[in-house]
C-alpha cells in the first residue's frame, strides 16, 4: 500500500467561478463505486461503475452577533449549476442562524504536512478486478466446509477524490477508499430440530485484506454453529464483557455527541474536570489513525485532524469542535467535522450532506486486564456480548441496549454455553454519582483492536441488566 496523490480539482474549479462577498467553502467529491452482491455462494449482481461527482457550497453571512450558514449541494458543475448553488446558499444563509460572532475557516495546509493512510492503492488502480479477487477469496474460504455455507452478502467499494477550498485560501485534495461488507454465514447441521444458525457481519473499512479472510471466516462459522444451540439469556444483573465489536455500536453515538461543542451549546456536555469514568479509563479521539474509517488528512471543513483527549483517568478533559461551534466558544476546531455520517453507517455520498460534529476514531487506552482469555478468567461468572441486534444508544439520556444476537455465558472463568435472545442494556454515560458504563468499568484489556470508529480493548463492566428467561 502506498500513498497516492489526487488528480481531482472539482472544488477548485467551482471555487474559481464563485463571486461571493461573504466567506465560503466548497467541498467536492468525485466518486466511483463498484459492488458485488452474493446469493449464497454465487454472484447475484455486479454493479459499477456508479459515478458520482458533485460539490457542496457553504456561505457564511454574519449579522447581529450570529452567523447564517447557507448550504447547497449539487451535481450540476456547469456555470449555471454553480451560479444556482451559490444563489441558493446565499439565500439560505439569510434564513439560518447560529450563535457564533466569528468563524475561523482553516487556511492553506502547511507544506510538508503528513498524509494519513486511507487509500488502498491496489484497489484504486484495478477496482473491479480486486473486488472480484476478494469475493473469490471470501467464497474459497468456505471450501471443504460441509456444515456452514455463505448465506448472502455484498462487498461495495468506493473510490473517492475529495477536494476542498475556501475563501481563506485553503486548497486541499486527497484520495481515499472505503469498503462496506455485509455478509452472513449459515450453519446447517447440528442438534436435531434446530433451525439454521446465522451470523451476520456488517462493517466498513478502508482496504481490502484478502489475507485475513480465512481466519475471519472460521470465526464467523463458529458463531453460526453456536447460534444453532444457543439458549435464551438469563435474567438478572451480571458482570459483562464488551469486546470492540460491541463497543463500536455503543461508545461513538454517545461520546461523539455529548463530548462536543454541540452539546456544550445546549448545556448538555459533561463539565470539564468532572469524574464521569472509572479512574483507569482514558479515551482519546484521533482522526489520524491509519486506515481508520474516520481518518483523513483534514476533516470535512479542511481543519487538520488531530488527537483530542476526552477522558483522562475518568476525568472529562476536552470536547470536540468543528468551525461553527469553535466560533461560538472562541476556541479552535479540533478537526471533527464529518459529512455522510448516517444513522447506522457512513454514507459514501458525502458531499450531499452538511458537515456535523462527530468523533473520528475513539481510542480507549489499553489497561492491565490482559488478553480476552485473562479477562474472562477474572470474571468468574458473567456474560460475553459478542453482538447486539442494535445497541442504538440515546445520545441524550445515554441509555443503550438491545437484543443479544450472540453471546456466551461465562462460568468458572471460561466461556461456556452460547446465548441468544433477551436484552442487555444500561447507560453509557451519566453524571458523577449515577451508574453508567463509563463509571462501572472494572477491567480494561491490554490488546486493543481497530473496529470502524473505535480502537479499544475489551471492557469489563461491573454489571448490566440482562433480561431473558
Amino acid at each position: 500500500m502506498t500513498q497516492r496523490a489526487s488528480s481531482a480539482d472539482t472544488a477548485f474549479e467551482v471555487a474559481d467561478r464563485l463571486r461571493l462577498a461573504e466567506p465560503w467553502e466548497v467541498f467536492a467529491e468525485r466518486s466511483r463505486r463498484y459492488e458485488i452482491h452474493l446469493n449464497g455462494g454465487t454472484v447475484e449482481m455486479v454493479r459499477g461503475p456508479i459515478e458520482l461527482e458533485g460539490f457542496a457550497l457553504r456561505v457564511f453571512r454574519f449579522r447581529d452577533g450570529n452567523v447564517g450558514i447557507g448550504f447547497q449541494a449539487s451535481t450540476d458543475l456547469s456555470d449555471e449549476g454553480v451560479r444556482l448553488a451559490a444563489s441558493d446558499s446565499e439565500s439560505l444563509a439569510t434564513f439560518s442562524q447560529f450563535p457564533a460572532k466569528t468563524l475561523e475557516l482553516p487556511g492553506p495546509v502547511p507544506s510538508g504536512s503528513q498524509g494519513v493512510e486511507v487509500c488502498d492503492a491496489q484497489l484504486w488502480d484495478q477496482p473491479m478486478q480486486r473486488l472480484e479477487e476478494y469475493v473469490h477469496a471470501l467464497l474459497a474460504s468456505f471450501d471443504g466446509k460441509r456444515d456452514v455455507v455463505p448465506s448472502f452478502g455484498s462487498v461495495r467499494a468506493t473510490l473517492a477524490e475529495t477536494t476542498l477550498g475556501n475563501s481563506a485560501g485553503l486548497r486541499v485534495a486527497y484520495p481515499h477508499t472505503s469498503i462496506e461488507r455485509e455478509f452472513a454465514v449459515k450453519a446447517l447441521e447440528g442438534p436435531e430440530g434446530s433451525p439454521p444458525g446465522e451470523y451476520w457481519v456488517n462493517d466498513i473499512c478502508r482496504r481490502l485484506d484478502a489475507a485475513g479472510l480465512p481466519a475471519q471466516v472460521e470465526e464467523w462459522c463458529a458463531y453460526a454453529r453456536d447460534a444453532r444451540r444457543a439458549a435464551l439469556a438469563p435474567t438478572g444483573e451480571l458482570p459483562v464483557l464488551l469486546p470492540p465489536s460491541t463497543l463500536v455500536e455503543i461508545l461513538p453515538p454517545v461520546i461523539g455527541s455529548r463530548w462536543t461543542g454541540v452539546a456544550r451549546l445546549r448545556e448538555m456536555s459533561p463539565p470539564l474536570g468532572e469524574k464521569w469514568g472509572w479512574e483507569e479509563l482514558s479515551v482519546t479521539d484521533d482522526g489520524r489513525v491509519p486506515w481508520g474509517v474516520g481518518s483523513s488528512p483534514v476533516d470535512d471543513e479542511g481543519s487538520p485532524r488531530r488527537r483530542t483527549e476526552l477522558l483522562s483517568r475518568g476525568e472529562v478533559t476536552e470536547l470536540l469542535y468543528d468551525v461553527p461551534h469553535a466560533g461560538a466558544f472562541d476556541t479552535q476546531s479540533t478537526g471533527n467535522a464529518a459529512r455522510g455520517v448516517a444513522l447506522f453507517n457512513r454514507d459514501w455520498r458525502r458531499f450531499l450532506t452538511a458537515p456535523v460534529l462527530s468523533s473520528s476514531t475513539l481510542i480507549v487506552s489499553p489497561g492491565k486486564g490482559g488478553t480476552d482469555a485473562e479477562l474472562i478468567e477474572s470474571v468468574g461468572d458473567g456474560l460475553w456480548v459478542q453482538q447486539l441486534g442494535a445497541a442504538f444508544p440515546n445520545p441524550y439520556s445515554g441509555a443503550f441496549g438491545g437484543e443479544l444476537r450472540m453471546g456466551y455465558r461465562i462460568r468458572h472463568g471460561k466461556l461456556a454455553e452460547p446465548v441468544r435472545g433477551g436484552t442487555v442494556g444500561g447507560f453509557v454515560a451519566a453524571p458523577p454519582g449515577r451508574s453508567s458504563l463509563l463509571s462501572d468499568v472494572v477491567g480494561i484489556g491490554s490488546t486493543p483492536s481497530l473496529v470502524e470508529g473505535v480502537h479499544t480493548p475489551t471492557l469489563l463492566i461491573r454489571s448490566l441488566t440482562v433480561a431473558g428467561r
Binding site: V46, S96, S397, L404
Partner: protein, 464 residues
C-alpha cells in the same frame, strides 16, 4: 409533472443501444427537490435538498443482472455509462432469458396536495417552528425542543425495452418535535412525528395542544422508573404495533429472503401462524401514506398484499425475480432507495389490521405487564426468526390498570411465539400509520410506513 421526461430521448437511445446486446434493459431516472427547516433553542437552519438527478441502467447479461449509474443526464454521461454497461454485456457467454415477466405498464401519476409545500415560503415554516419551540419551552423542566419540518417532491421515470413507461411525482411531508427535559444533570428526550403524502395540510401535529402534551410526557420520563424485566404481557401502542408488523412479517416475507433460503417463514407459507383475528398487510396503494407510491422500480403498479390473512400466512412480497421463482405475479415491491442504489424487494406500508377490543379491555386483559410506547427502531432476524423493538417509554400495567411511566426498554422475542401469544387488537379508532425509514441490512434507507392499533401479546422486555 417534473422535468425528467426532457431526457427521454437520451434514455431511449441508451435502451436501444443496450437492446442490441441484451434481451432486456431498463432505466430508472430520479430527481428530488425539497426543503428541511430545523430549529432548536440556539439555532435555526434551512436546507434545500441537493440539486441531484441521475439514472441507473440495468440489463440482463444472460446469466445475471449488471448495472451502472450516473449523476448527470446529458448525452455524454448517458453515453459513457451505456458504454460501460455494454462492456459488461460483452463479457459473458450465458444466454438465459431474464427471470420473470417484464412490465409493459404505461402511465403518468402525480400527487396533487391541496396546499403544496413548495408554495410555502421558508419564513412561514420558520415562524411555525418558532411557535412550536415556544410552546414546548413553556413546559417546566423542558431544556430544549428540536423541531423539524421537511418536504420533498420526488420524481421517478421508468422505461424498459418491453415498452413500459411509468412517470410519477410523489410529494411527501413530515414533521417531528423532540423535547429534551433536564433535571439534576439527568437528560431525557422523546420524539413525536407524523408524515405522509401531501402538503401543508399534513402538518397536523404542530398544534399547541399536541406539542405541550409531548413536552409534558418527556418531563415525566425524568421521574420514570426502570422498566420491568423478563417475560410478561406486553401491550403495544399503535406505532409499536406497526414496527412489529414491519420487523416480523415485513422483512421475513420479502421473498428475496425466500430465494436465498434465508427466511424462517418460507417453510410455513400457507400455515396458521396467529389467532384468527390477526391480519397483516403491506400496501403501497394505501392512500396518502409515507410509503405509498404508484409504481415500483420495475414498472409494476403498487398494490395491497395480504401477508397474514385471519391468522393464516398467505403471501409474500415480490419483485420479478422472486415472483418467477414462486410462479406468482410481482407485487409492486421492487424498490431502490435512489438511482445510486440497487433494487431489492422492499416493504411499502406494512400494518396490522384493527381488531374489536377497546384499549381499556386490553389493559384489563393484560392484568400485569407493560404498555410499550414510542418505538425508536426495530431490527429483524429473518433467518433465526427473532425480532427486537426499542422504545423510549412505557407504562406499568398492574391489576388491570395503567400505572407509572417507565423509561426506555427493548422488546425481544421469537416472532412466531409472539404471534401465537397475541390476545387482542384494538379498534379502527386507534389505528394510525407512522412514517419510518427502512434499511435493507444497514443500508439503502427508504421511506416505509408502518401502522396498527393497540395489540396485546407476551414477550421479553428489559432496559435499553
Amino acid at each position: 409533472m417534473g422535468d425528467l421526461s426532457e431526457f427521454e430521448a437520451e434514455l431511449i437511445r441508451a435502451l436501444t443501444r443496450l437492446g442490441r446486446r441484451t434481451r432486456f434493459a431498463e432505466v430508472l431516472a430520479q430527481s428530488v427537490e425539497g426543503e428541511l427547516v430545523r430549529l432548536d433553542r440556539r439555532s435555526t437552519s434551512v436546507r434545500k435538498s441537493p440539486r441531484l438527478k441521475g439514472a441507473v441502467l440495468r440489463a440482463w447479461n444472460g446469466g445475471r443482472w449488471v448495472e451502472a449509474a450516473m449523476s448527470a443526464l446529458d448525452a455524454e454521461a448517458v453515453g459513457r455509462t451505456t458504454e460501460a454497461l455494454e462492456t459488461s454485456l460483452w463479457n459473458t457467454t450465458a444466454v438465459s432469458e431474464p427471470p420473470g415477466v417484464s412490465s409493459s405498464f404505461r402511465g403518468e401519476w402525480t400527487t396533487l396536495p391541496p396546499h403544496p409545500m413548495r408554495d410555502v415560503p421558508p419564513e412561514e415554516l420558520i415562524s411555525l417552528g418558532r411557535d412550536v419551540l415556544s410552546w414546548g419551552m413553556a413546559v417546566p423542566a423542558i431544556h430544549d425542543v428540536r423541531v423539524e419540518i421537511a418536504w420533498n417532491d420526488e420524481e421517478r421515470f421508468y422505461l424498459n425495452t418491453a415498452g413500459a413507461r411509468c412517470h410519477q411525482l410523489l410529494s411527501r411531508v413530515r414533521e417531528a418535535v423532540a423535547p429534551v427535559a433536564m433535571e439534576n444533570g439527568r437528560l431525557e428526550s422523546d420524539v413525536e412525528g407524523e408524515g405522509g403524502m401531501g402538503g401543508r395540510e399534513r402538518l397536523a401535529l404542530l398544534t399547541q395542544e399536541k406539542v405541550t402534551e409531548a413536552a409534558q410526557n418527556t418531563v415525566k420520563l425524568l421521574r420514570a422508573s426502570p422498566p420491568p424485566t423478563g417475560e410478561m404481557a406486553v401491550l403495544l401502542d399503535p406505532r409499536c404495533t406497526g414496527v412489529f408488523a414491519h420487523e416480523s412479517f415485513g422483512h421475513g416475507t420479502e421473498a428475496d429472503q425466500f430465494v436465498r433460503d434465508r427466511s424462517y417463514l418460507k417453510p410455513i407459507l400457507g400455515k396458521v401462524v396467529a389467532p384468527e383475528f390477526v391480519t397483516i398487510v403491506d400496501s403501497g396503494a394505501y392512500p396518502g401514506e409515507w410509503g405509498s407510491m404508484y409504481f415500483d422500480d420495475e414498472g409494476y403498479p403498487a398494490q395491497r398484499t395480504a401477508l397474514v390473512d385471519r391468522g393464516r400466512f398467505v403471501g409474500a412480497l415480490h419483485d420479478r425475480v422472486t415472483a418467477a421463482a414462486y410462479h406468482v405475479r410481482p407485487t409492486g415491491n421492487a424498490r431502490r432507495s435512489d438511482f445510486l442504489s440497487r433494487l431489492f424487494v422492499r416493504m411499502t406500508n406494512t400494518y396490522v389490521e384493527p381488531g374489536d377490543w377497546s384499549l381499556d379491555e386490553l389493559v384489563r386483559e393484560a392484568r400485569d405487564g407493560v404498555l410499550l410506547e414510542h418505538p425508536t427502531m426495530g431490527i429483524e432476524d429473518p433467518q433465526g426468526g427473532q425480532m427486537q423493538i426499542k422504545l423510549r417509554r412505557g407504562r406499568r400495567i398492574q391489576h388491570g390498570e395503567l400505572g407509572d411511566v417507565v423509561s426506555s426498554m427493548a422488546l425481544s422475542g421469537k416472532v412466531l411465539d409472539f404471534l401465537r401469544s397475541i390476545r387482542g387488537v384494538s379498534r379502527r379508532s386507534d389505528f394510525m400509520m407512522d412514517p419510518g425509514s427502512c434499511g435493507k441490512g444497514l443500508t439503502d434507507l427508504l421511506p416505509a410506513g408502518s401502522g396498527g392499533s393497540y395489540l396485546l401479546a407476551t414477550a421479553v422486555v428489559g432496559p435499553a
